[in-house]
């Protein structure tokens, strides 16, 4: 019965209007939600547990405000919720070291995470943590099968590969054919009362620091054309201006 950890992160709602205040993104009034790919990771972890038993522990790092994402995970079905108590910027090196230490301390055979967090979009944590612990890792899994072995469906050159995943391993999850379960209200109400296991972490120095944020150039205003012949211009702009072809 494997111990399963799922790493979850609280990020600004992907629909939120982003503004810059000084050198940083203005987070005031921005709704915080579980990073969408982490929802798939949590779903995968729960299915893994349902197939082979064990416990699912959701782990996040942050201040008290991050408890919400853990309670969401609890409502959906996580057995335990752990917050690594640290607020503020960490580079990947310091972050992964802290998480790897926590995973080792908690003990686990499988770690699930989203393929990337919706805020940074980096996707470094899963493979980085795996490397630090000397574990195998598969990334961007779009499907998982839990039989005698764990099989992950991952993109590979020329299609998808069904990959046999050894134990222990870190699996990062993409949006796949997994239908993410939603918490029922009883789960939400119970989760509200659930206690968060808050653990202090020792964090190392970061050699990368944020020095500024800016907004990307605004998308040009919509262009309007009369007559079918203009479709040729639009076709050209799709490639040259919009860069979507």
């Amino acid at each position: 019965m494997p111990e399963i950890i799922v790493l979850v992160k609280q990020v600004p709602d992907t629909n939120a209007r982003i503004a810059i205040a000084g050198d940083a993104v203005d987070m005031s009034g921005v709704k915080m939600v579980m990073s969408p790919y982490d929802e798939f990771a949590l779903e995968a972890a729960l299915r893994h547990k349902e197939a082979s038993g064990g416990n699912v522990t959701a782990v996040t790092m942050g201040g008290a405000g991050a408890d919400k994402v853990l309670k969401d995970a609890k409502a959906i079905g996580a057995d335990h919720i752990v917050r690594l108590d640290h607020e503020g910027w960490l580079d990947s090196n310091a972050l992964q070291a802290a998480i790897a230490a926590a995973v080792t301390e908690l003990g686990a055979e499988f770690v699930y995470c989203g393929k990337s967090a919706a805020d940074t979009g980096a996707g470094s944590t899963g493979p980085g943590v795996a490397e630090r612990m000397g574990w195998a890792s598969v990334s961007n899994a779009v499907g998982l099968e839990f039989g005698a072995d764990v099989h992950a469906i991952c993109p590979a050159e020329g299609g998808n590969a069904r990959v046999q995943v050894p134990t222990p391993a870190v699996i990062s999850c993409d949006k796949g054919d997994l239908k993410v379960r939603k918490p029922n209200v009883r789960g939400i109400m119970q989760a509200k009362k659930a206690a968060v296991d808050v653990r202090s972490v020792a964090v190392g120095a970061s050699t990368v620091r944020v020095i500024g944020c800016s907004l990307p150039p605004a998308k040009p205003a919509g262009k309007s054309y009369e007559g079918g012949a203009a479709a040729a211009d639009v076709a050209r702009l799709l490639r040259e201006e919009a860069n979507v072809l």
């Binding site: 980085g128 795996a130 309007s224």
Partner: protein, 309 residues
Amino acid sequence: MSETVIIAETAGGVVAPSTAELVTAAVGMGTNPTVVVPCTDAGAANAAAFAGVARVIAAKSDVFAAYDAAAWAQAIDAVAPQGTVIALASARSKDMAARLAARRGLPVVQDVVAISGTQLTSPILSGKAMQTVEVEGTSVITIRANVFTAAESGGGPDVTVVDATGDVRTAVVEMMARASERLDVAEANIIVSGGRGMGDPSNFSHLETLADTIGAAVGASRAAVDTWDDIPHSMQVGQTGKTVNPNLYIAVGISGAIQHLAGMRSSKYIVAINKDADAPIFKHADYGIVASWEEALPVLTSTLSGMMS
């Protein structure tokens, strides 16, 4: 500036052209980079001898036959010199870069789109903001494709071949070819959708022709699905159909009522073709063409077809 090491991007055992963009980025940082080419056949590394490259190392190993993050990071780590490591921000290389950085105890900065000395800029929050970081010492960075111009090919140094090895942890059980049939709208990056303005369900064949030209999925508005039995519900985009956010959404003969907009308004670019200039879809379109689909669609299809070939 310490040494920079480029991990060449490969596809099908061949050095991908985007590797040349990494060379430009490295040269811009004030160094002549070493290019490490992960390969099973050292001959492939010859293609990495771009102008400005100081050294090409063919990291020859069986582990590079199929991707295994742990083994690749281990093998590349064994071969690549110390220094700032640069790779392409592709899904595979970002993964490898993260492991390599962790292996070397370095920070990794992903998706870089601008470099200014030791300052690196990447998009965050799905591109809604740009973040600039200052890097102290060496790091591993990945760079987005199509940002830097490609370095000239040829004129570079000879290739050094080094045998590498790594412990492959995962095993590919089987390859699953991508389904060749038309994409589902929920998964497609480009969608061509038709509404009641198409007049007749048989006219959706014109949308299919365009979709085939640009590798798109074909969608439909609810009005079209409701009106014509031939248009299946699985094609429906909108409030009670599928919610999509492709890079490009081409709406043909769709007025753009809220029920439809709710399902596609987060598309990155929207093209609207409608003969009614007052159709609400035009308020949301990046490129609006006031014309009947009979006029506009053939022009769009033929122009795009010319561009894609």
